[in-house]
Amino acid sequence: MAVTNSSLGAAQVDGGYDARLRASPDWPVQAGDWRARLRKASRAQALRYALLGFGIFFGLWYLLTAVIVPPRFNYIPNPALLFGQWISEVPQYGISVFIPEYYGHIWVSVLRVYTAFAISVGVGAPLGILLGWSRFGRNTLFPVVEMLRPIPPLAWVPLAVLALPETEMAVIFVTLLASFFATVLNTYLGVRSIPETYFRAAACLGYRRVDVLRRVVIPGALPFIFTGLQIAMGVAWFSLVGGELIAGRSGLGYLILDGYTQLALPNIFIGMITLGVLGWASSALIRKVGELMMAWHVKGQGGGA
């Protein structure tokens, strides 16, 4: 029992199999056109839903902090007040986009994170390469790394504060610890991921050890190194806040703590959100740099699992 198909019959009248193909819904209407339209439509839909989500989020926030205010919610400033203070020229609690002190805190935190990051990459990446490349280095040093790694960076705070001459150094030390381990570990994994055949090929070509390092080890490990750097940046911000809360005298973590002791509630939120934005931007920066440096790698990855 064949199913009759009216469009099929009509197309036959127009003549030819090609006409029937052209009449099928699979045939693209105009080159590229419908795809672009579809993509735009789905993006618009995503945006609508995202706005809906944010609307509910801020609506609830406002409702619970300005209209109903259940017990303890009075500690949360309502969004209108918060953002009003943030952009106020004369903020009640002394912090807004017009106050230089705000940028002072930002600058201190950024400086700490990037210093810690630079040190942990500068020391961690070479150490990771050593661990991955030299069997003896790996066998002797890796256990030490594995022994120290489980101690969370923040557990080092008291020791760092006592042992290091300056609090500033202690905060940076705590900030760099986690990112250091992330860099070492991922660089190590990156070097280990390079197929043995590459090293053999390099040996056949008569590369010196420096050349092997420069032309096989580093480029081969680069994708992993960048994964490591992204993680490192994330954990650096994470630890920084801990360090600043516990031992800082300035910075965004301190701004939050100060907001707590002074009960300057909007400042707590300004500090938190600023930290979120800076952390996100730093990760995005690293991702972009990584993409640029590894354009060849992405291309080459086509069919790889």
Partner: protein, 267 residues
């Protein structure tokens, strides 16, 4: 993964072979030289404040006998466990619903993406104000630390389930429920356990910091207390205890993972 499948005779052989392994010896040399360098630095007078390894080892029994040491283990573990449990339950249910429903995901995911970069510890002062007890504050922070890694990983896990498995199951006559329990769940399990083991590490990190700031008991508090009384040996013992606690939790997590996913053993 090294697992002992066989009984005593083979095990003994294994131990002998392991002892002959140069990797073991070189590792031992590495760790030994770490402690030697530490001790030598101490003798030379660099980092004079730090206790040497000998001092630490000597102090361990005494530190462990001190009042509240084991209670601190208990207190910290309870906070980690509670926060982790709540995070796992919420992250899994939200992650799965967003993995299944595109609309829910479009509405909810952006908000979570905005909240995610805020470091968990930045929530500490607000939490102290908001939550009625320090205990609730610490459990909340632990929850925050654990939530996002679990959530992100389970979502990615659901996205990455091979469409061919779903097609195959459908062809074999699987209904919605079977598809979910026999295909989606086991398919997303590896990613879930990746998230859970990242999360368990972060919970210890967060709980330590929270305890330093606001607890009366716990391994973080212990360390902080040692700092306040300028007992460096106490600090180091505290740190080591925290390290051991983290390792044990990761070990438990790994064990659970291996048992929940027997098909991934030996990978």
């Amino acid at each position: 993964m090294t697992e002992v499948h066989t009984g005593g005779g083979r095990a003994a052989e294994r131990v002998v072979r392991a002892l002959r392994d140069p990797v073991l010896w070189q590792g031992a040399i590495g760790i030994a030289s770490f402690f030697v360098v530490w001790q030598v630095l101490k003798w030379i007078g660099l980092f004079a404040l730090l206790p040497g390894p000998v001092d630490v080892v000597r102090a361990v029994p005494q530190q462990m006998e001190q009042e509240g040491y084991w209670l601190s283990w208990l207190a910290s573990s309870r906070r980690v466990f509670l926060g982790f449990l709540v995070a796992a339950i919420l992250a899994i249910s939200i992650g799965v619903s967003m993995g299944m429903s595109r609309k829910l995901r479009m509405a909810g995911f952006p908000i979570l993406e905005v909240l995610r970069p805020i470091p968990p510890l930045a929530w500490l002062p607000l939490s102290i104000l908001f939550w009625p007890s320090p205990e609730a504050t610490m459990v909340f922070l632990t929850f925050l630390g654990a939530f996002f890694p679990i959530f992100i990983n389970i979502l990615a896990g659901i996205d990455r389930i091979d469409i061919r498995y779903i097609q195959a199951a459908r062809s074999l006559g699987a209904g919605q429920a079977t598809l979910f329990w026999r295909v989606m769940v086991p398919g997303a399990l590896p990613a879930l356990f990746t998230g859970l083991s990242i999360a368990i590490g972060i919970t210890w990190e967060v709980v330590i910091a929270a305890e330093m700031a606001s607890a009366q008991l716990g391994l973080g508090y212990l360390t902080w207390n040692a700092y306040m009384s300028q007992s460096l040996v106490g600090i180091v013992v505290g740190m080591l205890s925290i390290g051991v606690a983290g390792m044990v939790s990761s070990g438990i997590m790994g064990w659970i993972g291996r048992n929940a996913m027997p098909w991934r053993r030996g990978r």
